[in-house]
Symmetry: C2
Subunit: 199 residues, 2 copies
């Protein structure tokens, strides 16, 4: 033990966080011991409060401190337009753009045969249940443009189309500000497939 | 606000940590909300416990949960050999090598005219006081091999030599496993100056 026991323990706990190696854990621990006590305490309390006061919305399964969440409760949002995303962080990313005014449904994962994740592990049944009582017309599937995200999109489309919803998928293509030269072939192919008439 | 308020607050607090940007803060916050509650609570409690139960040793000013610290209290250590370091993390680095059996004195910084840090901001007076009552014979100055660390070493040497202590400085030279080709000129010059007879 090269540090006093409470310090060693703090380093150990910080080292369990994703992407935090032993050196960073040590740096963070010593930082937390240096700053004013109330700042360190504020972080500790923020962890406990966030755990205590957040849950998943019983409607859309986004992280929330009210149930239903602020978005589901908001009559100003378009409840006819529902976007399906993988994780709460995708809701945050979408909200940041300010360009979507519909409501969300968070799957909490994607289908992955390799990891043994099937539809029953995602909020799919909850989505169908919800669609049976809500006035949704269009469903935008905004899972990530990865193999698993695509497979999940396909699966959901096959499930939802027969129920007469308009099912759409966010566009694939070249990211704004990127270089065609450095784009991968699949992205270029998708960008070509998704081409639009300039008017 | 793209996340529920307690989540946003947690992200904000995590984002204040050194080297943690907004993206990492978001990742860490969502991770802390996903793991079992007791693990998140354990981290929060480790922060509070570390703050409550650690202080600086009143003798050597290292971080400790007992006063004097375990090293200062240990009769098995050589109390005639004292190493001066900048920070508690340097004590940990030195202890990890297992090659030093003396005692320490932590300065808590280095002299820096630019940042306005003078001897009165470091534990220098405490060092002199300590030396007047402890049986120290040799003082190893192990401040970092930086401009400020060097200046601090010079200053301490000028202070301690007239008091008839043997004052030494850790060696500068090429790090083990490094390449002469890529070493900077100053390091090579120091390595030459510090050359030793092979016997």
């Amino acid at each position: 033990m090269y540090f006093a026991e409470p310090v060693a323990k703090l380093i150990e706990h910080l080292g369990k966080l994703p992407g935090i190696g032993p050196k960073t854990a040590q740096k963070l621990a010593l930082y937390l011991l240096e700053i004013p006590e109330e700042e360190a305490r504020a972080l500790a309390e923020a962890i406990i409060t966030a755990r205590k006061n957040t849950k998943y919305c019983s409607v859309c399964f986004n992280l929330t401190d009210t149930d239903p969440c602020a978005i589901c409760q908001n009559p100003g949002r378009n409840h006819r337009l529902l976007m399906v995303v993988e994780e709460p962080k995708d809701v945050a990313a979408m909200e940041r753009t300010g360009s979507f005014n519909g409501i969300y449904h968070v799957l909490h994962g994607v289908l992955s045969p390799i990891k043994g994740i099937g539809p029953e592990d995602l909020k799919v049944r909850e989505l169908l249940l919800r669609l049976s009582r809500e006035p949704v017309e269009e469903i935008i599937i905004a899972t990530n443009p990865t193999v698993e995200g695509e497979a999940t999109a396909m699966y959901l489309a096959s499930l939802l189309k027969p129920l007469n919803f308009k099912v759409t998928r966010i566009a694939h293509g070249l990211p704004v500000g990127s270089d065609i030269e450095y784009a991968d072939e699949l992205t270029i192919r998708k960008a070509l497939e998704g081409r639009r008439v300039l008017e």
